[in-house]
């Protein structure tokens, strides 16, 4: 139905054309889901914008490109004609639901626009249609929601409204650009189910753009892998997951953290996607490929058909083996009885809600509400939960970056809560933090050397210039950066390198505990693998303990010794990684685990789907916080908060139905 031939588009900068998508061709059949997969910067979104003809003003589509939709050439249509195609026959949903709805228009107005434009519906008829649409995308009480504004909706609901808007014109093809990347796993599962259901009901084709192999496995029938503006492999679902042929595809799989790779170093793709103005002339992957041959540096490979429906652009004809496991790194399985290095008990962080003229406190946001944790030296505790459950707040409260409202944080026997600033500074040596966003965590105005040395100066470890420079050089080496990096500024580095700098900064004061706040969630899979390997190696060498805050179960499986699952400011289940992942007992843990899309062909077990989204911590439900979404909830859950039940020495659950 959609036939793209030799699409080539780019962006002009300083009267120079930077080609972002270079001659890609693919087709999407009616009723099919075609996934475009690739890392960031590979031209996936530019392709989608090109198809919709929604490129920014400096975007150019080269002559010779062709986008045919149902036999109609889209690139020769006038803008006015294109407007009747957009929204009516081709629709698009975007990555960030929070910014793709207009905040000052009610939901009904925004959906109504599409109806007026494409179906000529107004008044009561339009309203009936809108209610039907909202019901179709699973929004409860659609009559009321129509008159609400986007800020009154949760993230998942906004994405549903976006889908309803996209469906309003009854399109034949839906382009979904990373539709679930900004959402939590349980909500992602809901949205993916919805899209799959809608596709079956309406026979609509979907062009799915994603970087997540799990989403691909859940949704796609055919997959196209993009790399640096080129399509490198197109395969059916079965071929893709069982017989990936392109070294890039194979490397993507090998870089995924997974329970089977536990204790091994992850395969990484060295380097990064080449910049638009420095594209290699021949095979664009040659510089990072582990199968690179001389021919790869000279001639750009042509399309080669491997089997029916499976084609790739690669000179290499070797076996479709995923590279053998790299040398085993022994997982430091220390005895869990080793004394707790950090112990947290009944930690509470409440933020007051102030209202009125005199700023009286009218309520509390219970971001963290009684959390207990222990971490032993040299071990990794993963703190898992959806966004807004308070896991980052726990991390910051441990470091006393946010003052805890109550409870105790003991570091090697010293109580940190309520400690005077001077004594606290001494304790800071032992704990450091690595932040989520490597672009926000480094001051752009300081040199890398100054950034790394900051902690040493502040804590009085290496004050003298020369000693400090030596220490910085050693740290840079340790995190795998050249010593010359010290003289450069953060903006000269890629995301992965910046995260290495952040790690070096934290290590500079030789801490025993690192709080890692989603350190890989802003990075691509291949770079994530590099960082995870680095963290693992550092633990081997230095015996650092990690508190690993994450929502990514694959990372937990790969890295963590112990897991604590958090929901709405409380820990609902904790135990050894094997215990939690194999025998989860809390209904929330089970739902969370089953919502994670696995990047495999295995038939997905009937997932437990949670209804709705996590409530606000300003107004938590009575009794067990989880009861409104719990499939097993009964009266007792609404009335009383469950006690901790110890299933084994290490495994503890807070649920009424476990005891």
């Amino acid at each position: 139905m959609l036939q793209i031939k030799n699409l080539r588009l780019g962006f002009t900068r300083d009267s120079q054309l930077l080609v972002a998508v270079d001659g890609i061709s693919f087709t999407v059949a009616a009723g099919e889901t075609f996934a475009l997969l690739g890392e960031s910067g590979c031209g996936k979104s530019a392709t989608a914008q090109g198809i919709m003809r929604l490129l920014p003003t400096n975007g150019r589509i080269s002559a010779g490109s062709s986008i045919q939709f149902d036999g109609q050439e889209l690139l020769t249509l006038s803008e006015a004609e294109m407007r009747s195609v957009r929204g009516k026959r081709l629709a698009m949903i975007f990555q960030e639901p929070a910014t793709s709805l207009n905040p000052v228009l009610s939901v009904g107005r925004q959906i109504g626009e599409v109806l007026v434009r494409h179906l000529g519906l107004t008044g009561a008829a339009a309203r009936q249609r809108m209610i039907a649409l909202l019901r179709q995308v699973g929004i409860a009480d659609p009559e009321r929601r129509l008159d609400e504004y986007p800020f009154q909706l949760s993230g998942g609901m906004k994405q549903r409204v976006m889908i309803a808007m996209a469906l309003a014109g009854e399109p034949d093809l839906l382009i979904a650009d990373e539709p679930t990347t900004a959402l939590d796993v349980t909500v992602q599962a809901q949205i993916l189910d919805l899209l799959a259901q809608l596709q079956i009901d309406r026979g609509m084709a979907i062009l799915l753009i994603t970087h997540d192999l799990g989403v691909v496995a859940r949704m796609a029938q055919r997959i196209g892998v993009m790399y640096a503006g080129e399509l490198v492999e197109v395969a059916s679902r079965e071929d893709f997951f069982e017989r990936p042929r392109h070294p890039y595809t194979q490397a993507l799989f090998a870089a995924l953290p997974d329970i089977r790779r536990r204790g091994q170093a992850l395969t990484t793709i060295p380097g990064q996607v080449p910049a638009l103005d420095a594209m290699p002339a021949a095979c664009r992957f040659a510089g990072r490929c582990n199968q690179v041959m001389t021919v790869c540096q000279q001639i750009s490979p042509e399309w080669r058909i491997v089997s029916a429906g499976h084609q790739l652009r690669c000179h290499w004809t070797g076996a479709a083996e995923i590279p053998a496991a790299t040398p085993r790194l022994a997982l430091s399985e220390q005895a869990s009885e080793s004394p707790a290095f950090l112990s947290v008990d009944a930690l509470q962080v409440h933020f007051p809600i102030r209202r009125g003229l005199l700023q009286r406190t009218v309520g509390q946001v219970r971001a963290v509400d009684g959390v207990a944790l222990t971490i032993s030296a040299g071990r990794t505790l993963a703190l898992v939960g959806e966004s807004g459950c308070g896991k980052t707040t726990v991390g910051k409260a441990l470091l006393q970056l946010i003052k805890p409202t109550g409870g105790s944080v003991k570091l090697g026997g010293t109580e940190l809560v309520g400690l005077k600033a001077k004594r606290l500074r001494a304790a800071r040596r032992h704990m450091q933090m690595i932040f989520q966003d490597p672009f926000a965590s480094l001051n752009p105005r300081l040199r890398v050397g100054e950034i790394i040395a900051e902690g040493m100066s502040a804590l009085g470890i290496e004050r003298h210039g020369a000693a400090q420079r030596t220490a910085v050089a050693a740290l840079l080496l340790q995190v795998g950066l050249p010593a010359g990096a010290a003289e450069r500024y953060p903006h000269e580095f890629s995301g992965g390198q910046r995260q290495r700098i952040a790690i070096a900064r934290a290590l500079a004061v030789q801490p025993e505990l690192l709080v890692c706040d989603e350190p890989t969630s802003a990075l691509d899979v291949s770079v994530q693998a590099q960082i995870l390997n680095l963290l693992k190696n550092l633990q081997e060498e230095l015996g650092v303990a990690y508190l690993f805050i994450t929502h990514n179960f694959a990372v937990v499986e790969y890295l963590a010794h112990d897991v604590a699952v958090m929901y709405l400011g409380r820990i609902v289940e904790r135990g050894k990684t094997e215990e939690i992942l194999r025998t989860p007992r809390h209904p929330y843990t089970r739902a969370l685990l089953s919502a994670v899309p696995a990047p495999t062909l295995d038939t997905h077990p009937a997932a437990i789907r949670l209804a709705g989204e996590a409530p606000s911590p300003a107004n938590p439900p009575s009794g067990c916080h989880f009861h409104p979404r719990c499939p097993q909830a009964q009266d007792i859950c609404r009335q009383s908060d469950p006690h901790t039940t110890h299933l084994s020495q290490t495994h503890a659950v807070n649920c009424h139905f476990v005891s």
Binding site: K396, L399, L401, A421, L424, R425, R428, M431, Q432, M433, F435, Q436, D437, A440, S441, L442, N443, P444, R445, L446, I451, E454, G455, A458, L459, Y489, H491, A502, R505, A506, V509
Partner: protein, 463 residues
């Protein structure tokens, strides 16, 4: 050789301190690659560089007018030398003909006769009422007053030819600097240079073509006419430039530390400190600005009038009043920038690199200086250049309502204030207002365009 005594006015000190500070800042910027890159982007902006060239001309005039001296009066040898009561500047010395060749009253631009009829006594013929001949305007023409148009055209053309030659020399120097040989020209005209040389050269060409003929004509004529007391309007315009620059620059200097300090403190610490500072600027903002300034200026006027012994010359008194005005304007105008900086600090405070610094136990003061201030600099620079034009205009408004600079000091505001009466009479005296308006318009437009270029270059979203 007549002796003289250097007079250092307070505003001169501030102006030259500012020049020194910008020199120091330039050295700092040259050492800091991100800042240097941003200023390079300003340098590549054609409109911005054209505006900067014009601005530079104004600044040169202002600086020339900021070197003051008093001439020694002729006295008996051996006695204590005494100095003239009048304080002159380097600019005055250069413009001596313009300064001294005063007429009796209004005359039109390029006129040879006064604008008003007077009774003239002709020996033997009684008195008649006619437009009297000017003492200086078109004097070299003698009786041949009809030749003005021809004379003006030839002088202007000759001067324009001279300007063209001067420009060619300048352009050749620029071309040499870009690249040796003929390729420099090509590079400049095709806009291939990193620095917007073509914009600078074109604006220099336009300025030379206007200014050189203007000043060569100013020797024989009053090119912008004369005012009520017969002073040359061109001279007044040139003297007004310094007043405008001081108001624009010194005020920012007064306001900047307050705004930066309070803005960052409020944003970083939050809590009651934030509340206090917010109340402070909300209160200041809610008092009508002109009233507050008027009250302060009037109080200061009383103080100045009751302490005549403080000032040895009129210029010193006027200067102090000008500085006080800057100070008052600064005190009332820091709120906008402060609010902006508070908001930005609130945003920065939550950034992860600040938290990382806090996790190391870095002291608050150090975090503010090392992490917050450098990341606010772009806002400060943008505000600085944008406020400049606003303040020049504010001075005009304040002088117009009579609470601006000292009446003895020339400024765009006082000129416009005088024009109130001139526009009311018949026939209308239009040249004074027109000249003040055009000069101020060019100054403010150039400052605004330059501010735009700076904002584009420093805006982190664009970088």
């Amino acid at each position: 050789m007549m002796g003289f005594e250097i007079v250092i006015l307070w505003s001169d000190i501030l102006i030259w301190l500012l020049v020194a500070a910008s020199g120091g800042l330039a050295i700092l910027i040259a050492k800091n690659p991100p800042l240097l890159a941003a200023w390079r982007r300003v340098g590549a902006n054609r409109v911005g560089m054209a505006a900067a060239t014009v601005l530079l001309a104004f600044i040169v005039v202002g600086l020339l007018d900021s070197v003051h001296y008093r001439l020694q009066l002729e006295g008996k040898p051996g006695t204590q030398p005494s100095y003239a009561i009048e304080v002159l500047s380097a600019l005055d010395a250069m413009l001596t003909p313009l300064r001294t060749r005063n007429e009796k009253t209004y005359s039109e631009p390029f006129a040879t006769r006064l604008f008003a009829k007077e009774s003239i006594d002709l020996p033997g013929q009684g008195s008649i009422r006619d437009y009297p001949r000017l003492k200086h305007g078109g004097k070299h023409l003698g009786e041949n007053e009809a030749a003005v148009a021809g004379d003006v055209t030839t002088t202007a053309l000759r001067a324009a030819a001279l300007a063209l030659v001067a420009w060619l020399v300048l352009a050749a120097l620029a071309a040499r600097r870009v690249a040796s040989g003929g390729s420099g020209w090509q590079k400049i005209w095709r806009g291939e240079t990193d620095f917007a040389w073509n914009a600078v050269l074109i604006s220099v060409a336009i300025m030379l073509l206007i200014l050189v003929p203007l000043f060569s004509l100013a020797g024989q004529y009053h090119v912008f006419g004369t005012d009520k007391v017969g002073q040359d309007v061109l001279y007044q315009i040139l003297k007004s430039i310094r007043t405008g620059l001081i108001i624009g620059l010194v005020t920012t200097l007064v306001m900047l530390p307050v705004a930066i300090l309070l803005g960052m403190t409020a944003g970083y610490f939050g809590g009651w400190v934030d509340d206090l500072i917010q109340y402070l600027y909300t209160v200041l903002n809610s008092i009508p600005g002109v009233l507050l300034i008027a009250a302060a200026v009037l109080m200061m006027q009383v103080i100045i009038d009751t302490h005549p012994q403080w000032f040895s010359t009129v210029a010193e008194r006027a200067d102090l009043r000008l500085l006080a005005l800057c100070f008052i304007l600064g005190i009332t105008s820091w709120t906008g920038l402060c609010r902006l900086l508070r908001g930005e600090t609130l945003k920065l405070r939550e950034l992860e690199y600040i938290q990382a610094a806090q996790a190391f136990g870095v002291a608050n003061g150090r975090i503010i200086v090392r992490h917050i201030l450098p990341n606010l600099m772009h806002i400060v620079i943008i505000a600085l250049v944008m406020d400049f034009s606003g303040l020049v205009l504010a001075e005009a408004v304040l002088s117009y309502v009579g609470i601006g600079v000292d009446p003895s000091m020339t400024s765009f505001g006082t000129m416009i204030n005088n024009a109130r009466m001139e526009l009311g009479r018949e026939p209308v005296v239009w040249w004074s207002l027109a000249a003040a308006f055009s000069a101020m318009f060019v100054l403010v437009l150039a400052a605004n365009l330059f501010a735009d270029a700076v904002r584009d270059a420093f805006d982190p979203r664009a970088a």
